[in-house]
């Protein structure tokens, strides 16, 4: 028997029962649309996060004060109060680890910034000029912080886009003086609009030399040290070196050292698991659709009992009858799968145009999986009805029993 003939026979049978075939398709379509859209959203989130990290450049190792075990908190009484992470530590690590190109200290604080009659509570980030490079900042006007020794303060600030607009309006901020927590500082630069980036509202932040911010906020410890590595430097080795050197210097491991790669990969794997589990839940609806197909095929077999009897009488064997009905249910489910993919892709396209910021897209693996799954559903749930048809007694079947 020729395979193309089987498909034609099956197709003709499905077309004859158009309405019933279409109704059983709907179940598969809904399942496939659900899988397509949900994986698209998951993939979108994953790409969004990956893009954000990529924009930072990934060869960065971050050191934070405090031993941050997997539990997340600093257990009181166990690690004790951590030593400060100081500018001296920054100098020390920069000197001792050759793979580090620049150590960028960060002291984060908040404060009130004032100009004329307006004032605003803002995040203040103390850092050095290299921060501009590693964060790929762009300036709307002026310059970023100048290259001065990190221990030296200077009464200068760089304003985020929103801060500048709100304080100065149409005025040009460059060269003007603002007051931050009472200290007068001169504006040397304004950043271009950037948007939120991994939780840091750069547009609403004010940047100043790290020593000045520590003095203003009366801080002894830095918030972070960012180690900008040489190209091709091995992050794992650098982390090991930091651990060894800094533990010896502090007499205990009272800091946390992670690479940006590690953060990204754990974030990605969380998102991936989330996507998979949501897709799995959606796939359950495909199983329900499979039962619908089975029901339709059982009705079809009992309606066509006489036909099966005839096919047997004119010489069709069990395998051929089995194949006819299996192909029928497989065609149903694959047609549903394709229709679902088309509809799902259309919905994803609508979503893309509504929320262009999140790059939602159905991943290729999901398309393959959903088609394979609908085929398996059709064949799997078609086996029993087809088996019943193939096992009919020809004499009884011809009489319609």
């Amino acid at each position: 028997m020729i395979v193309a003939d089987l498909f034609r026979l099956a197709g003709q049978a499905l077309v004859q029962n158009r309405r019933r075939s279409l109704l059983s398709l709907v179940g598969v379509v809904i399942g496939v649309v659900a899988v397509t859209c949900l994986t698209a959203i998951g993939e979108g989130a994953l790409r969004y996060v990956t893009d954000q990290f990529a924009s930072l450049g990934s060869s960065i190792v971050i050191i934070a004060p405090g031993r941050n075990e997997t539990t997340g908190g600093v257990p009181l009484g166990v690690g004790g109060i951590p030593n400060d992470l100081t500018l001296a530590d920054a100098r020390f690590l920069g000197r001792r680890i050759p793979a580090v190109r620049t150590v960028v200290p960060i002291a984060a604080s908040t404060g009130k910034i004032r100009h004329g009659g307006r004032n605003r509570q803002v995040p203040i980030v103390g850092t050095i000029s290299a921060f501009e490079r590693i964060q790929k900042l762009e300036l709307a006007s002026g310059t970023f912080l100048p290259e001065i020794d990190m221990e030296r303060g200077a009464a200068i600030v760089v304003l985020g886009h929103t801060v500048a607009r709100e304080l100065f309006g149409a005025e040009a901020p460059l060269g003007q003086t603002v007051r931050i927590s009472g200290s007068r500082m001169r504006v040397v630069g304004v950043l271009a609009e950037r948007g939120t980036q991994l939780g840091l509202q750069i547009d609403e932040t004010v940047f100043a030399p790290v020593a000045s911010v520590m003095r203003l906020a009366n801080k002894t410890s830095l918030t972070r040290l960012m180690l900008d590595l040489q190209p091709r430097a091995e992050q794992k080795r650098v982390i090991a070196q930091v651990r060894e050197l800094l533990t010896a210097r502090h007499d205990e491991e009272d800091f946390t050292c992670i690479s940006q790669d590690a953060v990204m990969s754990s974030l990605s794997s969380i998102l991936r698991i989330l996507t998979l589990s949501v897709a799995g839940i959606a796939a359950i609806s495909l199983a329900v659709a499979g039962i619908g197909i089975m029901n339709v095929m059982l009705v079809s077999v009992s309606e066509r009992t006489e036909e099966v009897g005839l096919l047997k009488a004119i010489g069709a064997n069990r395998r051929q009858i089995l194949a006819i009905f299996l192909i029928e249910s497989a065609l149903l489910s694959v047609a549903g799968g394709i229709a679902g993919l088309v509809l799902g892709s259309a919905l994803v396209a609508v979503g893309q145009s509504l929320y262009p910021a999140v790059p939602i897209a159905t991943p290729a693996w999901a398309i393959g999986a959903v088609l394979a799954l609908s085929l398996i559903t059709g064949v799997g749930f078609g086996v029993w009805p087809a088996w019943r048809a193939a096992g009919l007694d020809p004499v009884a079947a011809l009489q319609g029993h």
Binding site: M1, I2, Q12, L310, K312, A313, I314, G315, L398
Partner: protein, 241 residues
């Protein structure tokens, strides 16, 4: 050649057994035209189904061209039905969504014959039963007599030696019935063995021999031209001839 020896077909009906056929012995030579008659429930169709390899005997032997069919697998029986036997039914059993030509070509499809050849052979077979102009019509667009001739074309498409017809004119008016019988007679003249189950004396009269069944046994064997009316034929008061 068909030979059945001590053929039984028994159905178990709960606590008792129903013998649809009991101890039937018969031999039908190649090229014979035999009619099977008998009252309802006498076992006519059961015998035809057994000979057609649609059913298996409970006991006894069935030799088709010298080969014992009783022990064959499902698959082998399907192969025999495909290549060596053609069935014609009272209710035609055409598939409604297929055209006349596609219905006729169905057995070729199960035999794995390529579409081009199928089309040619099916067209040919339809021509032979006088329906060349109906090839593209669906069964619902055909008259009863035309449907039965399509079914005959389907039964003969694989070139079987043996044709089995179960009440082939039962659903037809006398004119189209006669047409169908003419087609069957022509096939018989070509050398096919023809076995016809019928209630109709006019159909039986065309046969060489008539087997009359009663309660699952062959009660009488008469020549076709001896059949006059059913009352006399089914009068079993006398001893079977």
């Amino acid at each position: 050649m068909i030979r059945v020896e001590d053929l039984w077909r028994t159905y178990s009906m709960g606590d008792h057994e129903l013998h649809a056929l009991r101890a039937v012995n018969e031999e039908i030579a190649d090229g014979e035209h035999v009619a099977i008659m008998g009252p309802s429930g006498s076992g006519k169709s059961t015998l035809l189904n057994l000979i057609g390899c649609l059913d298996s005997p409970s006991r006894g032997r069935y030799l088709l061209d010298g080969e014992d069919v009783a022990g064959l697998s499902d698959e082998a029986l399907a192969e025999i039905r495909l290549r060596r036997i053609g069935f014609i039914f009272q209710s035609f059993h055409l598939i409604p969504r297929l055209t006349a030509r596609e219905n006729v070509a169905l057995p070729l499809l199960f035999a794995g014959i390529a579409p081009g050849e199928r089309r040619d052979r099916a067209s040919h077979a339809l021509e032979a039963v006088g329906l060349a102009d109906r090839a593209g019509h669906r069964p619902s667009e055909l008259s009863g007599g035309q449907k039965q001739r399509v079914a005959i074309a389907r039964a003969t498409i694989m070139g079987p030696k043996l044709l089995l017809a179960d009440e082939p004119t039962g659903n037809l008016d006398s004119r189209s019935g006669a047409q169908v019988l003419d087609v069957l007679a022509a096939l018989h003249r070509e050398g096919k063995t023809l076995l016809v189950v019928t209630h109709d004396p006019a159909v039986a009269r065309r046969a060489d021999r008539v087997l009359v069944l009663r309660d699952g046994e062959i009660a009488k064997r008469v020549a076709g031209d001896e059949v006059t009316d059913l009352n006399r034929l089914f009068d079993f008061g006398r001893a079977p001839s």
